[in-house]
């Protein structure tokens, strides 16, 4: 019996019995192994019906083992009596279950629709890229399997993955690509789409020679792979995308759904057997955490790599809960039957609330400490043991009951996140681990954030609205205790936002000056808290519409190390044109160079100068069109619009050109003069350069600049007067002359313009 050691790449149902495992061997080989892995699901309910189900199952052709057993449902006090249905061929389980559920709709089903990798993770402790040692018999069947590492290790093994990346030379939504660019190990291969047979033959040779573990594509799900597969069919030259021979690729349909107040679009998916395909454009949050984050979320959720890269963190966290439940012998309901218990109106008013969001003290503040609770909601769930099945806690901190399902699931994740955060503080800036740690830490963050939402989500299998409310209740309590501690210690609380506070005190400038406050808050709340940083200065903005009203989440500032943090202004908005966002960013970085309040006043004219230069570039037509693109999301079907927004008008243009857009998809457009007022970027013909609505972009730019200069007493009107006067003159001069003759700094900083904070 040879022993094999390596990394588990992929796991799926075999077409006959059991499961197939792909192992990346230490010897460089890729091993295809089989393992017997019977799966069980359960039915409960009326005895007569259960007997009927048993009779029905005996007539089925599948090999089944039926027995009575007792198990625990999280929402029942007593164990349930169940009919267990065990089968050796997991691949046939979904179909059998569907037929049973159609025939016996009144029964309750458990463990019925679970991903095979989660079942395997619960039984064997496996996860994607786990280091395993397996004993195999002569037929390639696994007799013994041991997992040698844990997803909670701080430094996972560097798995020698063979990666092939494929991308078209331009965005297929915008224009017809002509070349397919394939990259492997620093080598680039360019294959022309026009020569179809050579393309297929060369690609097939590449796939065979490299035999990649990971296929990284751009637009692979929605465009590239479907195209290549249809070409392969037409020329009868099959492409070995799968490692598993004799099986087609798996197609998943596109869809649109509603989540966290947003319409989200997911393109169709193409999944492979024995290899992993990740489409960077269709992967969830690829922008924020790239491959390292995707692999990390696969490791900790135990979902297959291809799935983990595409699903929302919500699915990830429920997968982790399912694995915990399976390991603790708790039934996983197929459909949730839990309903909210009746409440009095007063209870509803008291508990149906979110986190505390304060109105900040508008204006510019110097030497401000920002402290925040580390993963506040998950910490509360773990520390106070909040779970659907545990009693409502009556205090912040330790609980008298054994840990519930949710705290059990979250604890290792939370500990890993805190450990990584602490390590980040100690690693020097050149350390390569920093980037990886950051990507992984982001993956953890999203899982933890959604975990709270899933407690209150009506379709979550282990959700309960009261548990959700308990978390926010104690969150508000913790924030208020922190506020009280700060005020008692002489700090001025400038702003509070759910889990963070901005505090200021004369003489407190260094991180160590805030340490006593951190310790006091930790004592009063028993939750982990940290200093996010000390701002040299921070500005809280008021509403653009009414300058008496502060806006809770619009601010920007500079930390002591010179790094900039901004929220709620154009440079953070996804629908801002890059030109506008870049200008604002450049202006902010200009302001950020100031070391002290006096310097800051000096920097303001320089920032206005940047605005002036950018406006001149815009007027002179020197801004590339790509930088003027604005991305708008279609939030509903076109028919739902009463007044057509610019985005909707762009969608109409695309539809007229035969390019349909689904709700949740983003359209890129340019504002133009006359006609629709917009030009969709993905139309087959380019916009007329002369038609660009320069005035509208001027307005957007001025608004963005005014947002930034608001704390210095400048609004759009003042700025317009400042820049327009000399703009007119400059435009008459040739470009070079203007460059040589920089405009005079007509703008002087006037402290009298500085707005007094509303309340002193």
């Amino acid at each position: 019996m040879p022993d094999r050691v390596g990394w588990l790449l992929d796991l799926y149902e075999d077409t006959r019995e059991g499961v197939v495992l792909w192992l990346i061997g230490d010897d460089g080989e890729r091993w295809r192994l089989r393992q017997n892995f019977p799966v069980t699901f359960y039915a409960a309910g009326d005895l007569e019906q259960l007997r009927g189900l048993q009779r029905y199952l005996r007539t089925r052709p599948e090999k089944l083992r039926l027995y009575r057993t007792q198990r625990r449902d999280l929402f029942h006090d007593k164990p349930l009596t169940l009919l267990a249905i065990e089968m050796g061929a997991p691949i046939r389980q979904p179909r059998l279950f569907q037929q049973i559920a159609d025939q016996f709709p009144d029964l309750d089903y458990y463990d019925a629709d679970l991903n095979i990798t989660l079942r395997h993770a619960a039984r064997w402790g496996t996860f994607p890229l786990a280091r395993c040692s397996v004993s195999v018999d002569d037929k390639g069947i696994v007799r013994e399997l041991r997992v040698l590492d844990s997803p909670w290790d701080l430094d996972p093994f560097d798995v020698p993955l063979r990666v092939l990346s494929l991308k078209p030379d331009c965005d297929p939504a915008h224009a017809q690509p002509s070349v397919l660019i394939a990259c492997h190990d620093g080598h680039e291969y360019r294959l022309s789409f026009q020569l179809e047979r050579p393309l297929l033959i060369n690609l097939r040779a590449l796939l065979r020679r490299i035999d990649p573990d990971l296929l990284l594509t751009v637009n692979g799900d929605t465009w590239l792979l479907p195209l290549l597969l249809s070409l392969a069919k037409r020329h009868n030259l099959p492409l070995p995308f799968n490692r598993e021979l004799g099986r087609g690729v798996l197609h998943k349909k596109e869809g649109t759904y509603f989540s966290y107040g947003q319409i989200i679009y997911r393109g169709q998916q193409i999944l492979l057997y024995g290899r992993c395909h990740i489409d960077c454009r269709n992967a969830m949050m690829w922008q924020s955490y790239d491959l390292e984050g995707a692999l990390e979320s696969a490791r900790i959720t135990a979902l297959p790599i291809q799935t983990a890269a595409r699903v929302s963190p919500g699915t990830g966290i429920s997968s982790m809960q399912i694995t915990t439940a399976l390991r603790s012998n708790i039934l996983v309901p197929w459909r949730k039957q839990q309903i909210e218990r009746p409440k009095t109106a007063l209870d509803l008013i008291r508990f149906d609330q979110g986190g505390l969001v304060y109105q900040p003290i508008v204006g510019l503040h110097f030497d401000v400490g920002m402290i925040d609770f580390i993963s506040m909601y998950p910490s509360i769930m773990v520390h106070s043991n909040i779970s659907p099945e545990t009693p409502f806690p009556d205090r912040l901190g330790s609980s008298d009951y054994p840990p519930g399902l949710i705290p059990l699931t979250l604890k290792p994740l939370l500990e890993k996140r805190i450990a990584l955060k602490q390590r980040a503080l100690s690693l020097p800036s050149w350390d390569p681990r920093r980037r990886k740690d950051k990507a992984r830490s982001l993956a953890h963050k999203w899982l933890l954030v959604t975990c709270f939402g899933y407690l209150g989500y009506k379709n979550a299998r282990f959700g309960r609205i009261e548990a959700h409310e308990a978390v926010t209740t104690w969150g508000r309590e913790a924030l208020l205790r922190a506020k009280e501690a700060a005020e008692e210690m002489g700090f001025r609380v400038l702003h509070m936002y759910v889990d963070g506070l901005w505090v200021q005190k004369d003489g407190c400038r260094e991180p160590r000056d805030f340490q006593p406050l951190l310790e006091e808050v930790a004592v009063r709340t028993s939750l982990p808290i940290s200093l996010d940083g000390v701002y040299r200065w921070v500005a809280f903005l008021h509403s653009r519409v009414d300058d008496r009203l502060p806006v809770p989440n619009s601010y920007f500032g500079v930390f002591q190390d010179g790094s900039v943090k901004a929220r709620g202004i154009d440079l953070r908005r996804r629908d801002a044109a890059p030109f506008v966002a870049d200008t604002q960013r450049e202006m902010l970085h200009c302001l950020a160079r100031a070391q002290n309040p006096a310097d800051l006043q000096q920097q303001v004219p320089e920032a206005v100068d940047i605005l002036r230069r950018r406006l001149a570039a815009l007027n002179a037509g020197r801004v590339p069109l790509e930088n003027l693109l604005v991305g708008k999301k279609l939030s509903k079907q076109l028919a739902g619009y009463r007044v057509l927004s610019p985005g909707a008008r762009a969608v109409m243009q695309l539809q007229a050109a035969g390019k349909p857009v689904r709700p949740g998809q983003r359209v890129r457009l340019i504002f133009t003069r006359g006609g629709d007022g917009v030009h969709a970027w993905d139309l087959p013909y380019p916009p007329d350069l002369a038609s660009v609505d320069v005035e509208h972009y001027q307005k957007l730019l001025l608004r963005a600049a005014a947002n930034l200069l608001q704390p210095f007493g400048l609004n759009e009107d003042v700025l317009l007067v400042q820049v327009r006067a000399d703009l007119g003159r400059q435009l008459e001069l040739p470009l070079r002359a203007w460059r040589r003759r920089r405009p005079p700094m007509v703008f002087e900083f006037d402290p009298a313009l500085y707005p007094a904070p509303y309340h002193q």
Partner: protein
């Protein structure tokens, strides 16, 4: 997102809208002063949310009074300073 109750901001806007007929009949100067009052109540929306009072308008009225009182205190202090500087 699946809210059972209106948020405190929504409640505030509803209460303010309930006085739109009253506001309309006021003289222009009085309208502006009324807007100031509502704006001052808005400074304390988060506290009003936390209070979870069954009749939020009472909290809003109290917030207006609070801001008024702060203003009086501020003016009183300024007055004292002015008188002090005159005496000196």
């Amino acid at each position: 997102m699946g809210r059972t109750l209106p948020s405190i901001t929504q409640a505030f806007i509803q209460e303010q809208a309930a006085f739109s007929r009253f506001r309309r009949a006021l003289r222009r100067g009085d309208q502006l002063a009324l807007d100031d009052l509502f704006a001052s109540a808005r400074q304390h929306l988060s506290a009003a949310a936390y209070a979870a009072h069954a009749l939020p308008m009472e909290t809003f009225l109290l917030s207006m009074l609070l801001e008024q009182h702060k203003e009086i205190l501020r003016l009183r202090r300024q007055m004292a300073e002015l008188i002090g500087s005159l005496d000196a």
